[in-house]
């Protein structure tokens, strides 16, 4: 797979690849240059670009100026006007027939500075230098230059005689208005090419794409949010993501057998230097017990390795699932590592079989489990054990009692697993909190099924990940939500005022609920109808 990427020549890829355009048109643009924000994704779905010209317009049109520039009756943003005209929901108007050739590609919307230059050339007879002065005045928003250019434009227009003086004034005011939002076309096209290239990589090499973007998440402002979104996106595309595997000793995100794995330094509280230390120590323990790390048992790790790193690192590795390959529950490992830590260094050495400190591991012992090792060590030395005093022997006896009869269950509940993974990996991977709720079986739709197009009567069992309340123009409250289950998450859930008044207490971050919702036919999101506590 990696080789396939090595041979990818970005300059010779197919620029009319349906798979790539479909991906963009479906709004699956997380990680795609310029289109990865919520805004970019939702407008990509509305504009549905199928060529570079469309894509360049999309990139230019989702800039703040364009979205805020309202015009016409009823007032609409230039972006919405572009979409409505593109899909025939609004009549195409060019104000004057002479503008059709210039604004045809953008459905009569003045998107680019170059279009303003062309208008000045066609209607006012500007030469290239004069047109460039106009571009500068637009780009730099300089009022004094703009006033001078206006005079030249009106003089030129009356000389050319293509439009009347009144029409020329109106067109110029239109150009002036575009100062707020118009964008340099060459810039937009370069961005569009970059966006297409990254979308192409995502469509054709999704594993490598996600792996690289996850690695890059460390440099993002909100790493956790970035990781969450990328992992969710990869689930939608059917790519499995797993917690780090201790045996692989990888620092950062990596690919193995068509799946993405977190690296150990991606676990919070485990830094790169800790991973380097782990690698060195794994080698020394492998030599000592003559077993490759892949053949270690949990007991081998606990007795021979755990003390080579700090207790914080051990707990983080266990909680994140790095040691799941031992087949022992994470809670049992956390419990035993805590008890093992109560032994003195000498007692630990005795258990490891290092009776004589000046010889190099003469009697390395292998134990079935911790209880067996501690039972052997518990007697005082004169009775053949490893404890130096009767007091220490009593402590070990107590530890054995705790091992025999733990005060709490040592299994891993879904709610704890999802919380632990969220804390240490930034997102839950192996399960979702809702899996622990008995009423979750009452759902009939998963988030992935919804994203894949399911419609009709839908009930979801989900966790609320994000709830952003807003005040509407009427002064009422409504809310935008992100919800998830183990399949993936839906980030465009809307709860309108009536439902928000009723269910606000349930639709709170961290809560698990049954949610009945309808598909928003216009925007493709989910509209909350009812919610129940689970």
């Amino acid at each position: 797979m990696v080789n396939k990427m090595k041979h990818l020549d970005i300059y010779s890829i197919d620029m009319e690849c349906n798979k790539t355009w479909d991906l963009i048109s479906r709004g699956m643009t997380k990680g795609v240059f310029q289109l990865e924000s919520h805004l970019g994704r939702s407008w990509a779905k509305k504009v549905r670009p199928r060529n570079i010209e469309d894509l360049a317009a999309l990139i230019a049109l989702i800039r703040p100026g364009c979205l805020k520039a309202m015009s016409g009756d009823p007032p609409k943003s230039m972006t919405q006007r572009y979409v409505d005209r593109k899909f025939g929901n609004e009549d195409l108007e060019y104000f004057h027939p002479s503008l059709e050739t210039i604004l045809g590609n953008t459905y009569g919307v003045l998107v680019y500075q170059e279009q303003a230059m062309q208008i000045a050339q066609a209607l006012a007879g500007f030469d290239l230098q004069e047109a460039d002065v106009l571009r500068k005045a637009i780009g730099k928003k300089k009022a004094d230059i703009m006033a001078k250019v206006k005079k030249s434009f009106l003089d030129g227009a009356s000389k050319e005689g293509v439009v009347t003086k009144k029409e020329a004034e109106e067109i110029f005011s239109w150009i002036q208005e575009s100062q707020r939002y118009s964008f340099n076309k060459s810039h937009a096209v370069s961005y569009a090419k970059n966006a297409y290239w990254s979308a192409y990589c995502k469509a054709h090499h999704p594993h490598q794409f996600f792996c690289s973007y996850l690695t890059g998440s460390a440099w993002k402002q909100d790493t956790q949010e970035e990781v969450q979104e990328l992992v969710n996106d990869s689930k939608i595309l059917g790519i499995d993501v797993f917690p780090p595997d201790f045996r692989d000793l990888q620092k950062t995100f990596y690919l193995k057998e068509d799946s993405i794995f977190f690296g150990m330094s991606n676990v919070k509280q485990v830094g790169v230097s800790a991973v380097e230390k782990i690698s060195v120590n794994v080698k020394s323990v492998e030599d000592r017990i003559a077993k490759k790390v892949s053949s270690w048992s949990w007991c081998d790790y606990l007795i021979f390795f755990s003390k080579k790193v700090s207790s914080t690192v051990n707990k983080a590795l266990i909680s994140a699932g790095c040691l799941d390959y031992f087949g022992v529950s994470r809670n049992k490992m956390l419990y035993e590592i805590d008890l093992w830590g109560k032994l003195t260094e000498k007692e630990m050495d005795w258990v490891r079989g290092q009776n004589s400190t000046d010889s190099l591991f003469p009697e390395t012992k292998s134990w079935e489990n911790l209880a067996e090792a501690l039972t052997a060590c518990q007697p005082v030395k004169k009775n053949g054990g490893g404890c130096s005093t009767a007091k220490r022997s009593a402590v070990l006896l107590d530890i054995l009692k705790m091992l025999e009869k733990p005060p709490h269950a040592l299994n891993d509940s879904p709610s704890w697993l999802s919380w632990a993974e969220e804390k240490f990996l930034g997102t839950s991977i192996t399960c979702n909190k809702v899996e622990g709720c008995s009423d979750s079986a009452k759902s009939n739709t998963t988030c992935k099924e919804f994203i894949d197009g399911k419609n009709g009567f839908m009930v979801f069992a989900v966790e609320v990940n994000r709830a952003k309340q807003i005040t509407t123009k009427k002064g009422t409250k409504m809310c935008f939500l992100t919800v998830s289950d183990s399949s993936c998450s839906i980030d465009n859930v809307v709860c309108f005022t009536k439902e928000w008044d009723e269910y606000a207490s349930l639709l709170q971050e961290g809560n698990t609920i049954l949610l009945q919702g309808d598909k928003d036919k216009r925007r493709g999101g989910l509209i909350v109808k009812k919610a129940w506590q689970i």
């Binding site: 919070k268 509280q269 809670n331 956390l334 419990y335 805590d338 008890l339 109560k342 009593a394 402590v395 107590d398 530890i399 009692k401 705790m402 009869k405 005060p407 709490h408 269950a409 509940s413 709610s415 704890w416 919380w419 804390k423 622990g436 709720c437 009536k498 008044d501 009723e502 207490s505 709170q508 971050e509 961290g510 809560n511 698990t512 506590q533 689970i534």
Partner: protein
């Protein structure tokens, strides 16, 4: 306080004085703040440092046998495990702080169990030396269900007393639940049940009715009832 779980706990002790007694049994459970379900339980006897200091009366009330205590692990080790267990439900994102630690809850904990928590935290950790306070639970909130029951039942003459068993009887708990009183875990489960009932009642009262207006309007209404 959307982040905190609730830890309902109870100690069976060697005497009545919370400033001197030793812990003989720790019972606790974690209640999920959202769905109000018990998600984990902790139950362990522990051998106190001074077995001779255990009052016979305390053993009779707790129904704990000396020989069972002798067979149990030392209180220091059990306390360490209790701390690790509570910390598993601390929602702090980075290193453990108390802001997102579980909220302590129980029956008569403010007057009895919390002073014991303070003593044991000071002795075995975790101790917040800056604030001179325990660092195991949330430091801001404590839910003493005895106080809450006083609040909700002051006009009820049919409630005999505010003892846990009386409240459980009054609330209609099963015979088996009531008969096992003074077993730390059973007391904890009963207390958790009271807590959940009160929280469900509060949620129902403050949620919208069929017309979407809260049955109990809290905002802007304090001081208006009865006037």
């Amino acid at each position: 306080m959307n982040y905190n779980n609730i830890c309902v706990f109870d100690f069976e002790t060697s005497g009545r004085d919370p400033n001197k007694c030793e812990i003989l049994q720790i019972g606790a459970c974690i209640v999920d703040k959202w769905n109000l379900e018990i998600i984990d339980e902790f139950n362990s006897l522990c051998k106190p440092e001074d077995m001779d200091a255990i009052e016979e009366e305390a053993l009779q009330v707790n129904r704990i046998k000396r020989e069972d205590l002798e067979k149990s692990a030392d209180v220091k080790i059990v306390w360490g495990q209790f701390v690790s267990w509570v910390n598993k439900y601390n929602k702090s994102k980075g290193s453990l702080g108390t802001f997102r630690a579980p909220i302590p809850a129980g029956y008569n904990i403010i007057g009895y169990d919390m002073p014991i928590v303070q003593r044991y935290c000071k002795k075995y950790g975790p101790w917040d030396s800056k604030r001179e306070d325990q660092k195991l639970f949330n430091q801001l909130h404590k839910l003493d269900l005895m106080d809450h029951m006083w609040f909700w039942t002051e006009n009820n003459d049919d409630l005999k007393s505010l003892k846990l068993t009386s409240v459980c009887e009054w609330m209609g708990f099963s015979k088996a639940e009531i008969e096992n009183a003074h077993d730390a875990l059973q007391d904890v489960k009963n207390t958790a049940k009271i807590l959940v009932r009160l929280m469900r009642m509060a949620r129902t009262l403050t949620a919208g009715d069929e017309n979407n207006s809260p049955r109990l309007q809290m905002k802007n209404s304090f001081g208006n009832y009865g006037k």
